[in-house]
Symmetry: C2
Subunit: 215 residues, 2 copies
Amino acid sequence: MYKESRKMPKSAEDSKKRMSGEQRKAQIVTVAMQLFAEEGFKGTTTREIARRAGISEAVIFKHFSKKEDLYNAIIDQCCNDGGGESRLLKLLKQKQGREVFSEVAMFLITEHQNDSTFLKLLTYSALEKHTLSDIFIKTKAMELIEFLVSHIKSLMDEGVFRKADHELAARAFLGMVLHFNIAQELYGLKKTFKRQNSDVVDTFVDIFFDGMKRR
Amino acid sequence: MYKESRKMPKSAEDSKKRMSGEQRKAQIVTVAMQLFAEEGFKGTTTREIARRAGISEAVIFKHFSKKEDLYNAIIDQCCNDGGGESRLLKLLKQKQGREVFSEVAMFLITEHQNDSTFLKLLTYSALEKHTLSDIFIKTKAMELIEFLVSHIKSLMDEGVFRKADHELAARAFLGMVLHFNIAQELYGLKKTFKRQNSDVVDTFVDIFFDGMKRR
DNA sequence: TGTATTATAGTAAGCACTTACTTACCTTTT
DNA sequence: AAAAGGTAAGTAAGTGCTTACTATAATACA
């Protein structure tokens, strides 16, 4: 074939030169994750993954026995980062009271604004009933919920918050923030509904804090 | 062919006898909507729609020029119900203050518990960037948000609520409720997280009302 | 009322293309 | 020379859609 005729997507610039096996595998997973986020598992073809990675389809099957294994490999990249705290929990060290909630809200809002790939991938995997979403919920999501729950408990013990179902309270808070992201990023509300991130965070944290305060 | 050999899914009992054209069209749309909710547009084949409807594939193309037109027909069934208020807005007539929010929360929670088909369909269509989600957001969803916004404005004017961004406040409230549904129904949290609907509604409405009250 | 005709609903078989995946071989690097 | 990375061509099965025909119900007429 004539290499000159081959369209070379920018993202595959470095596939012009040969990669090591490990590098190529990691690249395929990255590209696949983007496509699975855009189109879902069934909507993504191995042909399109190869095209976007700048390789032939057969290379994919040198690294993964089947398409499903490639999807599963994403789990290793994002959920099983072997020990080590998440970036968010690191951020929350030394934070107290209201600042914890502000930090969580700001982190989640800016994280998804900067890159909604993972939000979309997670949503697709929940709909497609893939283990990825199960594993994510059981690890990362529960980690955050449990952290918030223990923080809410402390605030109740200190008399700052009134007695209430702390798991429901944590869900209420996260629900405001995460649904805001879902509506803005997945449903396209960000085109018409524009607010400063700090205003959004302040409003949600105000509602939550004032709503939970002892009466 | 031998009728005896044909598998007759229960849902297609009445396709044993011929339907009128209009009846069949409506049945195909209903079955297709269920499948599009389960598998998404790309994950649903016209073969599977026909199988579930108990007809041959060619019948689908007697009523719809292509698969995409069948998907679009769902819009007619659920978003363009010609004038007439939604069931929820009817429920909210004569309701005041806190009762409005309780009613909205209870309606949305029980609606999705009873049948999460539409929630899944809408989520898939947002991810797949289909006009269905656009149209739903611009009609039904905005109708509810605007109703809540005007109600929140009234409460602010009456001095019950403090001055705040009423659109953000409406989003905060709906976010708690809708994300609760998403987590329970799509992410499978309902298997491990069980609460009385009334407790969930009370907690969310308490947080919102106390959070919005004048200080 | 029975029969022939017409209209309508439905099917079997097929088409062109796409899909996930394989294989035998080529090219480049060590 | 051997190992490793990569490709062109191919396979069997699946996909959206079409076509020529069949089956059934409704209607007209004797």
